[in-house]
């Protein structure tokens, strides 16, 4: 390399690396971004089995049941329409997780049509609703007060 062009070479190399980072980011984001589904969307256009997605809706009243092991729960998530998705989750339920309230489940759809949740996000306090659920009917009244605290 000619010493004369060192600065130019450095700038070009740095730019190349940053552009590479950008391209990798864009490519990975298209593949790895975790898409959000409402129950009706998941029913009409289901994601691939095993793909990490999130499902948001209301926990149907009367659907919550605990299995014999005491830590696995099953419940049904409904949206604005009639479609429902059964969810299975093993773990400690989030505080304030109750029937008839909103939930966002992270996980993947199984071959049998059950959504296997690895993590549940519920309301953090009485004023906070996960952002994805803001559009749901039952939450319209709560939208007014979603502007309160939700953590640090």
């Amino acid at each position: 390399m000619k010493a004369k062009h060192q600065r130019l070479t450095l700038v070009v190399l740095a730019l190349l690396a940053i552009i590479a980072a950008g391209l990798i980011a864009v490519w990975a984001l298209r593949n790895q971004a975790n898409y959000f589904y409402l129950p009706e969307q998941m029913a009409s256009q289901p994601p691939q089995v095993g793909q990490a997605v999130r499902l948001g809706g209301m926990v149907q009243s009367g659907s919550l049941e605990t299995e014999a092991d005491g830590v696995t729960v099953r419940f049904v998530v409904t949206g604005n329409e009639a479609s429902t998705i059964p969810v299975r989750y093993s773990g400690i339920l989030p505080d304030l997780f109750v029937e008839g309230s909103g939930v966002v489940a992270e996980g993947s759809l199984q071959a049998d049509g059950t959504f296997l949740a690895t993590n549940l996000l519920a309301k953090h306090d009485e004023n906070y609703v996960p952002k994805e659920l803001e559009g749901l009917e039952a939450h319209e009244a709560k939208d007014v007060i979603t502007d309160t605290v939700a953590g640090v």
Binding site: I18, A21, A28, A52, T66, G70, V71, A150, V152
Partner: protein
């Protein structure tokens, strides 16, 4: 009354920021009456610092006595709250934390104006003008859209509490530490702009900038470490990093500051990387601003989101655009005037530093795009979230080569070196890494990234100490010790992360009192579950006796707490720290009645080998920074003393020469400045 004093102090401080900017800017006009006006910049900055601190102290006082006629106190505090959390509640909300931001900004500007005498006066004036300009924006933001001192027409009867998640000592230290880091970068930014405007981008300027960058970086490191540990034990999810947008908001300035810190060192020591250092100064402060914007504007969904207020968001975005845009314009206008610095080859220490600077920038780009992507798609009504499946592999693509070069870089010589010279060291490091990989692969089936992490951590840990090899330890410069400590801290932290990723074990079960569970070689017995209460909460507390390999059991007591004002439930995890890891226990809900008719409780326990090393490493990194600052300051003081002695000697000589010629002693009088 106190609140009004604070409010008035804030307005006065804003006015002084205008004076500081005007006087600094006028001083740049070489001729005319600007010269007279320039003397106001430094005092304005110092007095402004005092006023901003008074304003913050007033708010602190209002929270301390729970003055419920102040709107902010009424909405965020409660007379029944423990005193320490009344105080920390001052910055546990939007307005208070912005006031803290501004107070720290003013304080660091004041310190810069008061203490820094090494730079040419013109550069200093430009720096103070930029600092004033940055401050004005935040005063306007605070006074117009987030006034913390607003009174209620009728004092509230009782406050409406504070989010119980925030009632934690972690909160007392976490945000202020981060803010000091963010704001320290604003000083680095002002210095970079000042040097750029007055065409003084040289090693001398880099030496002035370096302690500020190092200081900011130390605070960011501590803030991130504390925040990570806080999320780890407070959220009860067992994770230590969630790639939450708010965590990313603190990581991005840190990445930029790490790159800046290394490039400013190259500029100070070798007079290379001039343009790059200025550019990183702009990027680092932009990331601080972006972080503040993301957290404060409420554009994010996260457990951290404070408030959703479009006015604030827009104002912050405008400030962000103004500062980044303005600095880029200045950069574009002046970049051609920066002469190229000293040259170096690819296989030199500078070469390694440049490579890692680029890698850090690439990681920054990955994190930035991942953080902004959900906001972008939401504009098109597609809701996505971006998590570890994106960040971990995409980040690793650049982090792995970075760690490899980081191991080798400090072994290389400045300017030019031959790879053959360090071949033995390279062989040792390579074989350590390969040995670890082989060992872990034989031991069991673990994911790829943690295996690579363990190997790199091992090699890096040894490599960090190699610069000390063959040197007399008492003669090693203090700053070099700082580097060794910080690099070793990276290895320690990386080891903790990789170990947690590879070897963590988890047990989730419904257990009745008296029931025993096995996790690895730990025996976990739930002895009892009882209701307990605290000053503002009630809870279910479990007593868990844990013992390893038949040793004496230790009692852990995790709680599921219910707060009132506001009503909220949190999970208080219980931790048992041993030298080789942590046992992490969480109690959940009642899990119905077991087959034997006993009430069962959900119990979740993790064994996380060496997880604590993540935060020990973070502390070591920060300690390395502190040692490095101490070393630099000591050298600087020595040089100042030497310069003073040289000056005195010259004066003496001049005086002697003058006497010999029959002139009055003391030499010719200096010309007055005007």
């Amino acid at each position: 009354m106190i609140a009004e004093i604070g409010h008035a102090a804030l307005w006065l401080a804003a006015a002084l920021a205008v004076l500081q900017m005007a006087s600094g800017a006028l001083a740049l006009r070489q001729s005319g009456e600007g010269g007279n006006f320039a003397v106001y910049a430094r005092p304005a900055a110092v007095v402004q610092a005092f006023l901003a601190i008074i304003a913050f102290a007033s708010l602190l006082y209002s929270f301390a006595i729970t003055d419920l006629s102040v709107k902010l106190v009424a909405t965020n505090s409660h007379s029944m709250k423990p005193f320490i959390y009344k105080l920390t509640g001052t910055w546990g909300n939007h307005e208070g934390s912005m006031l803290l931001w501004v107070a720290v900004l003013a304080a660091s500007g004041g310190l810069l104006a008061f203490a820094e005498r090494r730079l040419p006066e013109r550069t200093m004036s430009a720096t103070l003008a930029v600092q004033g300009f940055v401050a004005i924006g935040f005063y306007v933001f605070l006074l117009l859209s987030s006034n913390p001192f607003e009174r209620l027409p009728v004092p509230a009867v009782e406050g409406i509490g504070l989010n119980p998640l925030l009632q934690d000592i972690g909160l007392a230290v976490h945000p202020p530490t981060l803010y000091v880091g963010y704001v320290g970068l604003s000083v680095a930014f002002s210095l970079a702009m000042g040097a750029l405007i007055t065409r003084q981008v040289n090693p001398n300027f880099a030496k002035v900038m370096r302690p500020w960058v190092l200081g900011a970086w130390v605070f960011l490191t501590l803030g991130i470490t504390a925040g990570s540990y806080w999320a780890y034990y407070e959220l009860g999810w067992g994770g230590w990093w969630f790639w939450d947008p708010v965590e990313n908001a603190s990581l991005m300035p840190w990445l930029a500051a790490t790159a800046l810190l290394h490039s400013v060192s190259v500029l100070a020591a070798r007079d290379a990387l001039r343009t790059w250092t200025i550019m990183l100064g702009v990027v680092a402060f932009s990331m601080s601003m972006l972080g503040t914007f993301l957290v404060r504007s409420g554009v994010l969904t996260s457990v951290h989101a404070f408030a959703v207020d479009p006015e604030r968001g827009t104002l912050l975005l405008a400030l962000l655009g103004l500062y980044i845009g303005g600095s880029l314009v200045i950069f574009a206008m002046r970049a051609s005037s920066i002469a190229e610095g000293t040259r170096f080859t690819a296989t030199s220490r500078e070469g390694a530093l440049v490579f890692n600077n680029v890698m850090l920038s690439a990681i920054l780009a990955i994190v930035l795009l991942g953080t902004l992507y959900p906001l972008l798609t939401e504009a098109f009504d597609v809701r996505v979230s971006v998590g570890p499946p994106y960040y971990n592999p995409a980040g690793a693509i650049f982090a792995i080569p970075m760690f490899m070069v980081m191991a080798v870089g400090p072994l290389l010589r400045w300017k030019d070196d031959s790879p053959a010279r360090i071949q033995p060291q390279l062989a040792i490091l390579g074989s350590i890494a390969l040995l670890i990989i082989a060992l872990v692969v034989v031991l069991g089936d673990y994911p790829l990234l943690p295996i690579l992490g363990l190997a790199l951590a091992g090699a890096l840990g040894v490599a960090a100490l190699l610069p000390l090899k063959g040197r007399k330890l008492s003669r090693v410069p203090v700053a070099t010790w700082g580097m060794v400590l910080a690099h070793f801290g990276v290895a320690v932290s990386l080891f903790g992360m990789a170990s947690e990723g590879a070897f963590s074990q988890e047990r989730l079960a419904a257990v009745a009192p008296g029931g025993v569970e096995q996790l690895g070689d730990w025996q976990i017995e739930l002895t009892s579950v009882d209701p307990v209460s605290g000053p503002n909460w009630t809870a279910i507390e479990a007593q868990i006796a844990v013992s390893r390999a038949g040793a004496e059991p230790t009692i852990l007591s995790p709680q599921a707490r219910n707060f009132w004002a506001p009503a909220q439930a949190t999970s208080e995890s219980a931790l048992l720290t041993t030298w080789d890891g942590q046992l992490y226990a969480v109690i959940g809900d009642a899990a119905g009645v077991g087959p034997d008719g006993q009430q069962r409780w959900q119990l979740r326990v993790w064994w996380k080998p060496f997880v604590t090393f993540i935060w020990y490493g973070g502390l070591l990194i920060a300690l390395g920074g502190v040692v490095s600052i101490a070393g630099r300051v000591r050298v600087d003081l020595k040089q100042r003393k030497a310069a003073r002695i040289r000056g005195e000697r010259r004066e003496d000589e001049a005086a002697l020469a003058g006497e010999a010629r029959g002139e009055p002693s003391g030499g010719p009088l200096p010309q007055p400045a005007e």
